[in-house]
Amino acid sequence: MTATLSVRNLRVEIPTRHGVLTAIDDLSFDIAPGEVLGVVGESGAGKSITGSAIIGLLDPPGRIAGGEILLGGERIDNLPPPAMRRVRGKRIGMIFQDPLTSLNPLYRIGDQLTQTILTHEKMTARAALDKAERLLVEVGIPAAGARLSSYPHQFSGGMRQRVVIALALAADPELVVADEPTTALDVSVQAQVISLLKRLCKDRGASVMLITHDMGVIAETADRVCVLYAGRLAEIGKVRDVVKHPQHPYTHGLMTAIPSLKGDPDARLEQIPGSMPRLGAIPEGCAFNPRCGFRLERCRAERPAAYPTSRSEASCFLLDAAGRAPPPETATAARAAGIEVRAGAPTGADA
């Protein structure tokens, strides 16, 4: 089965006065039909830039400098702007963080919905209005018929985000890119919006790329998760595997650093020393190496590829079966952290 979205060796560059910054470096992942892929990372990890690159809305001077993006098997990264406009909204729906800025404050909700529907589908204005009302009913807006003539400011935050979801789904897209869809909302509303988004996409068979910094949202919503660090893939795999048995030292650090509603509240949180490097100052070799507790000699010079483990795939030399054996104490510590150390394993031949 063809993946709904396939990102191959994506590279996004931002030319600045002080040289070219590489915001996304050699990133590859697939989203299967009907799948929810979570994309997580800290601020500056490149989550939103990945989303913008996919929908063809990179802020200039940012540009795709390499790799390809395939939607249903066809390349969309090199489409001319008019063709891309037909893809965007029709085949890819978008939901942004702040519902106030993604709705036009001067137009009634009904007009915004019918405009989107009519742009992408051939139907009469009357039929479009009916469809708009059906969409509002579907996203759970009470008295949908009457609310069609309301303006965005007459809705609460949660209701507005529901309208944005209705807009994103108006043309029955194959893929929905949701960038921090609940970050601006309160917890009790966040849960409603997330479950709504998940249900509607499931009903329509649409795939979702859910970009967020909140691991809790990912843990409860996504099927698979892709962890980014400094514009590079750290780890990708099934949510349960990545949350419970992270294989990359960064993911491991991240999972133990997040306070949870389960577990011992008096236990000290694990902390990762330092903070993520800025784009202009990404270290040589593995981007995580200065903060990593399991650093090997080669981590400072070479960049790890994504190596498979029995659960997820992670970009770490500890998992490179062809690599040299790490010092015994590093190997023991990494194994204690649940990392499947493969470097220097007997199958790894001569090292």
Partner: protein
């Protein structure tokens, strides 16, 4: 320090014989959001009043961490401002170590009180003056309260403060923009510690930080509490963070303290229907694949909150009196709950249906 040691240390400082350091009684704040007089006359509109905080009473033990949780508009930050002395309350009082901070007339004693209370703000990008070197930022409270004999002593103290929060004393010559978000929050913490306070109000201290950095700051706050015997009022909307930090928790809904209880009890057995709903709603990494009960409704407009119990339109256990009568504060074990389900009257089976 092991988890068990941490627990004993925390219990030791919060021993019940000491009088509470902070006592807040019937605190209330009303904001006047009316248009100007002339506009009101021309439009024929009335006054618009917003009750941001409504009769909140709580006390914080010495060395304890009292966490206030609630969604936006619940009055968390308004309470924080009234407690530190930045915003006068409309009603009620705040006592710190026995002194009423809003009734104190003597300027000298007011200064003394202010030295003992400090605040850490949410956004370390906004709370540090970008044109001041870190050294000057930290020296300011020391100067203002006359806590160092001379410039050399002040400089030594600044260095000490920086090491205390895990930064290099040499960082005092740098400007805030040279630091990352987490390091800036450390500077803000060092500034709060500069006046040697006993009580620090932390208003969402980690909300602007990334998770890996959040853990560093939370650990630092806990370490400092151990070492310096600090008392915290910790304000957050993140329940997992609160569970990790607090000894006692108060839950706010539209300006009212609907439940307060020891942290363990609140998270193990929440009593108020709103607390239960909130705990059910939080996405958590320990909960993947768990089906959630669906939640109804949103926070109502605080300008025109529902009568009776503010939560009644969303409450699954709503009873007739909830729509008209403001619930009294009811004791349930160590907890205090603002809910008719716990007021002792027989509600013909409704109370029994509450877990």
């Amino acid at each position: 320090m092991s988890a068990a040691e941490t627990r004993t240390a925390r219990l030791a400082i919060s021993s019940p014989d000491a009088a509470p350091l902070v006592e807040i009684d019937g605190l209330g704040r009303v904001f006047d959001l009316s248009k100007r007089w002339l506009n009101r006359v021309l439009d024929g509109s009335g006054k618009v009043m917003l009750t941001a905080v409504d009769g909140v009473s709580l006390s914080i033990e010495r060395g304890g961490t009292y966490a206030l949780v609630g969604e936006s508009g619940s009055g968390k930050s308004t309470i924080a401002k009234m407690v530190v002395g930045l915003l006068p309350p409309t009603s009620g009082s705040v006592h710190i170590a026995g002194a009423d901070i809003w009734a104190e007339r003597s300027l000298a004693r007011q200064r003394q009180l202010r030295r003992r209370i400090q605040m850490i703000f949410q956004d370390p990008y906004a709370s540090l003056n970008p044109r001041w070197r870190v050294g000057s930022i930290l020296a300011e409270p020391i100067k203002a309260f006359g806590l160092a004999a001379d410039a050399a002593a002040r400089e030594a103290r600044v260095g000490e403060l920086l090491s205390l929060v895990g930064l290099d004393p040499r960082d005092s010559a740098k400007f805030p923009h040279e630091f990352s978000g987490g390091q800036r929050q450390r500077i803000a913490i060092a500034r709060a510690l500069a006046s040697e306070p006993e009580f620090i109000v932390c208003d969402e201290p980690t909300s602007a930080l990334d998770v890996s950095v959040q853990a560093q700051v939370l650990n630092l706050l806990r370490d400092l509490q151990q070492r310096l015997g600090l008392t915290y009022l910790f304000i957050s909307h993140n329940l997992a963070v609160v569970r990790h930090m607090a000894t006692r928790v108060g839950v706010l809904y539209l300006g009212r303290l609907v439940e307060e209880a020891p942290a363990r009890e609140l998270f193990a057995a929440p009593k108020h229907p709103y607390t239960k709903m909130l705990l059910d709603a939080v996405p958590d990494i320990g909960m993947e694949g768990v089906e959630r009960p669906s939640i109804a409704g949103e926070i109502p407009n605080p300008i025109n909150p529902p009568p009776g119990c503010h939560f009644h339109p969303r409450c699954p256990h709503v009873m007739p009196q909830c729509r008209t009568v403001v619930p009294p504060s009811c004791a349930a074990g160590d907890a205090k709950v603002l809910c008719h389900l716990y007021d002792g009257a027989d509600h013909a089976g409704t109370a029994r249906s509450a877990p």
